[in-house]
């Protein structure tokens, strides 16, 4: 990608962040946003900017960055343009953990933790199933195992919800639809850590992913330890997916959609595809969260529904080009 495109991508993200802070029940001008960030605005504006809007926008950006980067790396390592972070059983596992926590009457701080644990448990199970099936770093077997584990988790959720009362079902559903509404500086900080570590690992593996994308046998002949690199991508991808799911629930389509967008801009090597997907993913989720807030006030639409709605026309257009 050219430097001009990188700048454009970064500027779009900055604009989305500013717009995300401006828009809400109390609209703020860009000037107030800037002074609020610097701490020179009226105390109430400072509070709205710093304690309400900024954490929410940053959380949305981190969710998008994590899902975008994880999707880009997974698509490369599995050589499959339909791969995405949730496909490793992450979404089902996270939802199962969260639903069980809700059903057991757990309060707010415990539910994301349960979701995180469920996601990591599901990924571990996926990798164990793949290994038991004999796939030595074989991406197809890992993806199939992920589908199996995800299906099992979904079945378990349905069983758990069948006998639950309405408030539990509602809480679980809200989780499964995704939202950045519960953002706080605590959740932003912990997610920032996961996202930074996860993306750093993926960038270190980026060159190996370039080679792995040529095929496993070719990559082995070119000096890539196929099983090890694949495992690194799965673990880092799972960390990113689990961290984002714990912070904002399930935000579908981002990990699938964003890498396609970035490749369309001409990014070819995975170092630029992963970095580009982190930036573009952040922009997309910040915008989607903004739409979720203003589309149907005073109610908020689920974030996951917005990202899916944005994804559908895009993939329809791609489909037409393929056919």
């Amino acid at each position: 990608m050219t430097t001009a495109r990188w700048c454009l991508l970064a500027l779009t993200l900055a604009a989305a962040v500013v717009a995300g802070i401006m828009v809400g029940t109390l609209p703020l001008s860009p000037n107030v946003v800037l002074r609020g960030l610097l701490g020179t605005a009226a105390p109430m504006d400072i509070a709205v900017v710093r304690e309400l809007r900024l954490p929410r926008v940053l959380l949305a950006a981190l969710v998008g960055a994590g899902l975008g980067a994880a999707g880009a790396a997974l698509q490369g390592a599995t050589r499959n343009v339909l791969a995405e972070p949730y496909l490793l059983g992450v979404s089902g596992g996270a939802a199962m953990g969260a639903v069980i926590a809700v059903a057991l009457g757990a309060r707010a701080p415990l539910v994301p933790l349960a979701g995180f644990a469920g996601a990591l448990g599901a990924v571990a199970l996926t990798l164990l199933v793949a290994r038991a099936a004999g796939g030595r770093g074989d991406a197809r077997i890992v993806l199939m195992a992920g589908v199996v584990v995800g299906a099992f988790a979904n079945a378990a959720i349905m069983v758990a919800l069948a006998g639950a009362d309405a408030s539990v079902v509602r809480g679980a559903l809200w989780w499964m639809m995704g939202s950045a509404a519960d953002a706080s500086w605590v959740s932003v900080r912990s997610l920032a850590l996961y996202v930074a570590v996860g993306i750093a690992i993926l960038l270190l593996l980026a060159r190996a992913i370039d080679v792995l994308a040529l095929g496993e046998e070719t990559a082995a002949g070119m000096g890539v330890d196929v099983a090890r690199v694949a495992l690194g991508v799965y673990v880092a991808g799972a960390l990113l997916a689990a961290g984002t799911v714990a912070a904002a629930g399930l935000v579908g389509f981002v990990g699938l959609l964003v890498p396609h967008l970035v490749r369309m801009t001409g990014a070819r090597t995975h170092r630029s595809i992963i970095s580009g997907a982190a930036l573009a993913g952040a922009t997309l989720v910040v915008m989607a969260d903004l739409l979720a807030r203003i589309a149907h006030p005073p109610a908020e639409l689920p974030l996951g529904a917005i990202t899916a709605l944005l994804g559908v026309p895009f993939f329809l257009a791609r489909l037409r080009r393929l056919a």
Binding site: G134, E217, M222
Partner: protein
């Protein structure tokens, strides 16, 4: 350079071993060709070399070091491999693709040094792919793609190159160009280990031939020693005669039509 010592490989749930006590070696400065019918174990030789199948018994050594005692990366700096099939999932630009051959030489963050760029340029010159470098690998014809893959392997460098059926899908001209290139690489001192179906071409270019049959070595030696009508007829299970090609007198196989049943 590359030597297989009594290598046995078994795939799970198969009664017969894919490779059964196979020993062979590929020397520097020579083309060593492995031939044999479909399913005789040729491709398994390559898969075992890059560690995609585990050895049941025996050892594969690069000079005197077992491939099990060396990292994939260290091995790749010495031996380049062109596998039988390669279907890239994403459209790289040809030059980027050839430059990926330098992967085993690069550090975690270090970019391409002048030496890497020089190796890529030399590989492009040797394979005459300079007109293709700006194209995308998914837009190349079969012959162009095969030349570009060779360029990638040559850019990888090292003292040996292993190729699995490098001329499948190529027309006569492109096929000859690939064999001439391999011959040049051998003259420059590399060990060339070639898996091929093209018995007649191999007989003209190779220094040594190894004929595999059902995972075992059925014959090994110079092309003249291996290209014997009686051996080939038994291994390929088809009537044939071996004659001499009119140009350089290399042994040439001519398969016969099936005999009409009386």
């Amino acid at each position: 350079m590359i030597s297989y010592h009594a290598v046995t490989v078994r795939y799970p749930h198969r009664a017969r071993a894919a490779l059964d006590d196979v020993s062979l070696s590929a020397l520097r400065g020579q083309i060593t060709a492995v031939v044999g019918p479909n399913g005789s174990g040729k491709s398994t030789l390559v898969r075992a070399l890059v560690g995609r199948v585990a050895l049941d018994r025996g050892a594969i050594r690069i000079d005197d070091v077992s491939v099990l005692h060396s990292t994939r990366r260290a091995m790749a700096t010495r031996v380049a491999v062109v596998t039988q099939r390669e279907e890239p999932a994403f459209p790289l630009v040809v030059r980027q693709y050839i430059a990926l051959g330098r992967y085993p030489h690069l550090g975690l963050w270090r970019g391409h040094a002048p030496g890497d760029t020089a190796a890529v340029d030399a590989a492009i010159a040797l394979t005459q792919t300079s007109l293709l470098v700006k194209r995308t690998i998914t837009e190349l014809s079969g012959g162009e793609w095969q030349r570009v893959r060779l360029a990638r392997a040559i850019a990888q460098g090292g003292e040996a190159i292993v190729l699995d059926e490098p001329t499948t899908f190529l027309d006569v001209g492109h096929e000859m160009a690939v064999f001439e290139l391999l011959s040049r690489l051998a003259r420059d001192g590399r060990a060339v280990l070639l898996v091929s179906h093209q018995l007649n071409l191999v007989a003209r270019f190779a220094d040594r031939m190894i004929l595999l049959h059902d995972g075992r070595v059925a014959a090994a030696g110079t092309p003249g020693e291996v290209m014997q009508g009686s051996i080939l007829e038994r291994v390929y299970d088809w009537p044939l005669v071996v004659t001499r090609d009119p140009a350089i007198g290399a042994p040439t196989l001519v398969p016969l039509r099936a005999r009409p049943r009386v």
